[in-house]
């Protein structure tokens, strides 16, 4: 019991300490994996925000891609600064999401999932088909580096990107958390659980779903934009539906009914699959295996692991007591 309370009190400071000190003792490779992990956490958490209203999206790649392409093109073609084009990329995705949302969110459940999937693939087809401005199958490269005020030479160091993405992730996670706990977020739960009831209580279900999709797409697009500027080259392949499958697997393994689920799922799977194995096929097999095992034994995801373990212990304890009393 003492250990449990000690863990409870100290895990937050320890995580903060690790996150802040990491750049000073870890190598570039670890920093790179961390940056990609943070970006993926944003992808995955925004996907889950979309899910709160009951809309299981297979087209989350569309928002990420729009953010990445819009931010990159604004920098490449109009010479806009990174700091301006990044939010503009988010707004571009938001506008598309509002239009797409009003057109499709009347459709419910699996049918909407299929529609969103189709939309994501249409976006990929558009990037691939049009050389101008999307660069066709080759995509865009030599995306300009951001200008960093006061420390211009800092931009090529991983430390700059690490802290930039970390702060951005924390801000977005805070915003999503506040949104989920707000009346708006709780009304989304009502819609997901029983949308007829919500409508009979006066909720404009379509508006709620569209606003939620718009928020989720805005933040996802920001993450996509920062990804484009970080890796400096993007192509349509990066934003195809496989990206969504990864997001769904991360969320399912971490636990998609819980705010921490995507964060834990992405972190654990990224470390396991990036750190240990580089080859594609083995990585996919490992991911698939972990997904199956999790769905069988931890349907609520890794977040529920402490509870499940405690349940086992309690069971064994009570069984032990029963054995003792019968003997």
């Amino acid at each position: 019991m003492k250990i449990a309370s000690l863990v409870k009190q100290t895990w937050i400071p320890i995580i903060i300490l690790v996150l802040i000190s990491l750049p000073f003792w870890a190598g570039d490779y670890i920093l790179h994996v961390s940056i990609i992990t943070f970006i993926t956490i944003i992808y995955c958490s925004t996907w889950r925000q979309n899910l709160i209203s009951g809309d299981f999206s297979f087209g989350h790649n569309a928002w990420i891609g729009i953010g990445a392409y819009a931010a990159a093109l604004l920098g490449l073609n109009l010479g806009l600064s990174f700091w301006v084009s990044l939010p503009l990329g988010g707004i571009a995705a938001l506008i598309v999401a509002v239009i797409f949302g009003y057109a499709t969110l009347r459709v419910r459940g699996m049918y909407w999932s299929v529609l969103s999937w189709a939309f994501g693939e249409v976006m990929v087809a558009i990037y691939t088909r049009f050389m101008v401005p999307f660069g066709g199958a080759g995509g865009l490269s030599s995306i300009p580096r951001p200008t960093v005020p006061f420390f211009p030479e800092f931009v090529d160091s991983k430390i700059f990107w690490y802290f930039l993405v970390l702060v951005l992730m924390l801000v977005i996670l805070l915003a999503l958390y506040a949104l989920e706990k707000s009346r708006f977020g709780r009304t989304l739960t009502l819609i997901a659980e029983n949308d007829s009831l919500a409508r009979s209580l006066g909720v404009n279900v379509l508006n709620y779903k569209v606003v939620n999709l718009a928020i989720s797409s805005f933040f996802a697009a920001i993450a996509g934009g920062i990804f484009a500027y970080y890796v400096t080259a993007i192509s349509p392949l990066v934003f195809n539906v496989l990206l969504v499958f990864l997001i769904v697997i991360y969320a399912a393994v971490g636990g998609r009914n819980h705010f921490m689920g995507p964060i834990i799922g992405v972190t654990v799977l990224m470390v396991l699959t990036q750190g240990l194995l580089e080859t594609g096929a083995i990585r996919s097999m490992l991911l698939g295996g972990i997904l199956i095992v999790c769905q069988l034994f931890l349907p609520e995801g890794l977040v529920s692991l402490p509870k499940t373990i405690k349940g086992w212990f309690d069971k064994r304890k009570s069984k032990g007591v029963a054995d003792a009393s019968s003997a």
Binding site: K181, S182, R183, F184, T189, L190, L197, R199, S200, G202
Partner: protein, 254 residues
Amino acid sequence: MPVLLETKKLTKHFGGLAAIQDLDLVVNKGEVVSLIGPNGAGKSTFFSLVTGFLHPSKGFVMFNGENISGLPPHKIAKKGMVRSFQLVSLITKCSALENVSLAFHLNTGIGFWETWLHTPSSKKKEMDILREAVELLDFVGMAGMQNELAGNLSLGYQKMLSIAMHLAASPKLLLLDEPTAGMSARETDTTIRQLGKVRDRGVTMMVVEHDMRVVMSFSDRIIVLNYGHKIAEGSPYEIQNNKQVIEAYLGTEQ
């Protein structure tokens, strides 16, 4: 008595089948009207039609002197007509109190940014809503059950909870779809008592019900539907002795 709800020539076709045919009916302010009829008579369809879940094929619906046919459900709810559902509908994974507090949707006065940013003003309003939600739970006889998960409640309490939720939307007219279906005799008695209290609050009610005990003890007026037509209308006593009604339920004597 002023008219609250009125339908004129209301008709709904599903393909070739007329679920509701040329239905004219009136609900006055303060009344409790029961809608009865054999299975498939069109009672639930009628509820869906007047609350906007279905669109009429012909005819129109007047509520509070306004033509509301074709409006979406959330707008009709805002005007003060709220329906319940045959199946228990609530958020099973939330507590009873959370369920009622969410049902205050129309009456919160909390803006989108306000609630996202969790401003002090929104927190204050949330506290007020919680207080009102507690009062409503007390009102339906569920004091002390605030923190129970809605999914763990017995059917009787779940139905009471959903009535509390619908009251939170402050309806002028409450449409109840089989409020006592599946209940034990004791639960039914409690429900009748509670619904009496709801009526004393000044809420006009229209009830679809199969339990004749509930219908006869509770309604001012009864409307009988069969195959989408109104076949009789009157006080409980008149309906009990109406030949057509007896035929519809029991068939004709050979």
